[in-house]
């Protein structure tokens, strides 16, 4: 394992794999804040050169956080397919990159061999790729999952409806749900982030969503994004939920801070299969995002992108129905502007799909980032174009509870026209039956009126 190279006569030496991974990153404010970013543009390239010569074996045997001290590392490494690991362990990352980005290499073949790649290998590959490299590899990776309905086919573009409310008012939540449905948003899932994290509130929202789905026979999934233990208690008491949600991260201290253990999620996954209202087999929903570990001082000195890959490595144990990043949600100390956010989204899409996850995109910015709706729309267009499994939809893209901006119901409807991707099959049929949507996924004159569902 060689950690030293020269560029234009100047020698660069790195002390370990972790440092190489951090310094090989495209610029991100989070790495600078942590004090682990490359100090010059040339040092960044030197780290990439060194990384391109490391082998799959080097990166797997030197995880960013040691196996012995971190259960997240253990879940990732214990879950690897040893056949494909052994087959590829002597490949350098530079060679592997060329194999992956070659259009002749089938996506399905990549998915099979990637079962032997650790999160550090997957992060390392992304660090050697340009934006278009990431895009053309991601586009080939198809990950389908099923709860009540199937998502993940490249010709399908579903949306998570995110009808949040600052005080969890049911009428306030439901009018946002209905408005979303009236634009064709909600076929990936209708998922509410509650303000109050308790069993009664979680159940109350779960019933409201369920009642709508039952009354109108709407083919989709529901989720209430309280803590996993709260959802488990609510379902034990009979609350109707399709999916179990949890935020996850890429280090043991971060997962602990989120109040999550491997066993707890195992139990939750088992419970929702037996007591939930969806068929499955994929019934977990995870949210992630670059910078979440450092924001709670649980990064262990590892760069935010590698931690994000490790988050996906941890998540794959649970074969979730859907996963989305929310890179950009935390603020400018992790992702500074639209350019960094765009890069993060391409990295996350690639790393998530390489990890076998049904990767969606939570396009997000806060008002203290150098970012606006124009940046967000570019990210949205790009992610839908490269085949993201889903994105979110909110009234005008404004999350009135979490105080940040995302994509709007209008953006959702527009993206279907721009990409030609259609709603989930059953949902599309249902929208056409109601007279809200046409065969080509365009909206009819009746669409956009939430009170379509409030007829007397």
């Amino acid at each position: 394992m060689i950690l030293k190279t020269s560029l234009y006569g100047k020698t660069y030496e790195f002390k370990d794999v972790k440092e190489v991974l951090a310094k090989a990153n495209e610029p991100k404010s989070g790495d600078v804040f942590q004090g682990i970013a490359a100090e010059t543009a040339l040092e960044r390239v030197a780290a990439k050169v060194v990384l391109s010569h490391l082998t799959v074996g080097d990166l797997t045997e030197n995880p960013a956080i040691p196996y012995e001290s971190d259960f997240c590392t253990r879940v990732i490494l214990d879950g690897l397919n040893t056949y494909y690991y052994n087959k590829f362990k002597n490949w350098t990352l530079g060679d592997l990159r060329e194999y992956l980005i070659d259009w002749e290499t089938a996506g399905n073949d990549i998915r099979i061999i990637a079962s032997g790649f650790s999160s550090e290998v997957i992060a390392g590959l992304a660090k050697l790729m340009s934006n278009m490299d990431l895009a053309c590899t991601s586009k080939k990776l198809i990950v389908t999952t099923r709860a009540n309905t199937e998502v993940g086919r490249p010709e399908i573009l579903p949306f998570r409806s995110q009808p949040n409310h600052p005080t969890d008012d049911i009428d306030g939540i439901m009018i946002s749900v209905l408005e979303g449905i009236a634009y064709g948003c909600g076929d990936a899932m209708i998922g509410v982030n509650p303000v109050e994290d308790n069993v009664d509130n979680t159940s109350r929202i779960a019933y409201a969503l369920y009642d709508f789905m039952e009354k109108w026979e709407c083919p989709t999934q529901s989720s209430v994004l309280s803590h996993i233990t709260t959802q488990m208690k609510a379902v034990e008491e009979g609350a109707p939920l399709s999916l179990f949600f949890q935020s996850i991260a890429g280090s043991e201290p971060a997962l602990k801070a989120f109040g999550v253990t491997t066993e707890m999620l195992d139990e939750a996954n088992d419970q929702i299969h037996h007591m939930g209202i969806a068929y499955g087999p994929n019934l977990m929903y995870f949210e992630t995002g670059q910078g979440s570990e450092m924001s709670i001082d649980a990064d262990c000195g590892v760069d935010e992108m590698t931690l994000e890959a490790r988050t996906y490595g941890f998540g794959r144990r649970y074969a979730p129905f859907c996963v989305n990043n929310v890179s950009g949600f935390i603020g400018p100390e992790t992702i500074y502007d639209g350019r960094e956010a765009l890069r993060a989204h391409l990295e996350d899409q690639f790393m998530g799909k390489m990890s076998g996850l049904p990767m969606g995109s939570g396009c997000a910015y806060t008002n203290h980032m150098h970012c606006d709706q124009n940046d967000l729309e570019i990210i949205d267009m790009l992610m839908c174009f490269v085949g993201t499994n889903y994105v979110a939809g909110l009234p005008l893209g404004d999350d009135v509870m979490l105080s940040y901006q995302d994509n709007s119901y209008h953006d959702n409807a527009t993206m279907r026209l721009l990409t030609g991707r259609k709603p989930v099959v059953e949902f599309h049929q249902w929208m056409m039956k109601l007279g809200l949507m046409r065969e080509d996924a365009s909206l009819t004159k009746a669409a956009g009126d939430a009170s379509f569902f409030l007829r007397n």
Binding site: N164, H368, Q373, L396, H410, G448, L454
Partner: protein, 288 residues
């Protein structure tokens, strides 16, 4: 001794006199700019803003819409936003952006009669990316604060730009006199209030240590939401120290004319300072 309500009324009266005076001075009476103009799109309340033509059930739509601040019933131009909806959103984001990215003018600080210092950050961009540097002064500034400000005050007030300069310019002229007046009523010594540029909440702990204050108040601009750039928070500690737990801070948030009005907040802050001094504690342990 005067009761609580009387004190609050007194403070409110004094400060509202100051405010009314400045407002009347600013009134414009010219014809050229006041006559014809395009109506202010931001004056429309979201609850009243409804554009769905021939809605199936408009009364129920409006009833439910009134229950949420989410922008509902906006209708569409094809699948895109109508022009006014689009521009209103832009205006609301612009207010937030201006709050974060503009600077509090040095003139304003001077007019307020406050000394002005800077954290270790050199620019807004650095401030946004390096929360750690926004929590500390360099040695030179620290020495200056110690020599220019009153040492060992009972209550030390600092004003920080934080994530909203607009919050400072919108509230300080009202809230600062209100606090000072309140402290005076309680007979508490207020030290030298000063302004800190590029400051995070935690910088108050270094101030506490430098000046040996008992109670420290940090009036700081909050991260703006859409259309809410003026919101300020007050963080208050009793005998704070660098590295103290966040749970040791008492917080009043949402201070602006549409939330907790600054006059009211000022009186409340003085009262909290008094309680902290009596109970010798701040944060979660404080009995309010």
């Amino acid at each position: 001794m005067a009761n609580q309500k009387e004190i609050e009324n007194l403070v409110a009266k004094i400060v509202s006199e100051i405010v009314n005076k400045t407002e009347s001075e600013e009134k414009c009476e010219c014809k050229c700019c006041c006559d014809e103009q395009i109506p202010d799109i931001t004056a429309v309340r979201h609850q009243d803003d409804f554009h769905v033509p021939d809605a199936v059930n408009e009364p129920e739509y409006m009833r439910m819409k009134a229950r949420t601040p989410a922008r509902i019933g906006v209708w569409r131009a094809g699948t895109r936003l109508k022009t006014d909806t689009f521009l209103r959103f832009r205006a609301d984001h612009a207010v937030a952006v201006d709050a974060v990215f503009t600077e509090v003018p040095e003139e304003f600080i001077k007019d307020m009669g406050m000394p002005s210092f800077r954290s270790q950050c050199h620019s807004k961009a650095e401030y946004l990316q390096r929360p750690d540097l926004g929590r500390l002064f360099d040695d030179e500034t620290a020495a200056k604060i110690k020599s220019e400000c009153k040492n060992k005050p009972t209550v030390q007030i600092i004003v920080s730009d934080g994530l909203s300069s607009t919050a400072v310019t919108a509230n300080i002229e009202t809230i600062l006199p209100a606090i000072m007046q309140g402290l005076k009523v309680y007979g508490l010594d207020a030290g030298t209030p000063f302004f800190v540029r590029y400051a995070r909440v935690g910088i108050m702990d270094q101030v506490t240590e430098l000046l040996g204050a008992d109670v420290t108040v940090n009036l700081i601009g909050e991260r703006p939401g859409l259309a809410t750039g003026e919101s300020m928070s007050a963080y208050i500690t009793y005998k704070g120290y660098v590295g103290m737990p966040e749970a040791g801070r008492t917080v009043i948030s949402n201070i602006h004319k549409g939330g907790t009005p600054p006059v009211e907040a000022g009186a409340h802050i003085a009262e909290l300072a008094k309680k902290m001094l009596d109970q010798k504690i701040s944060g979660l342990g404080l009995q309010i």
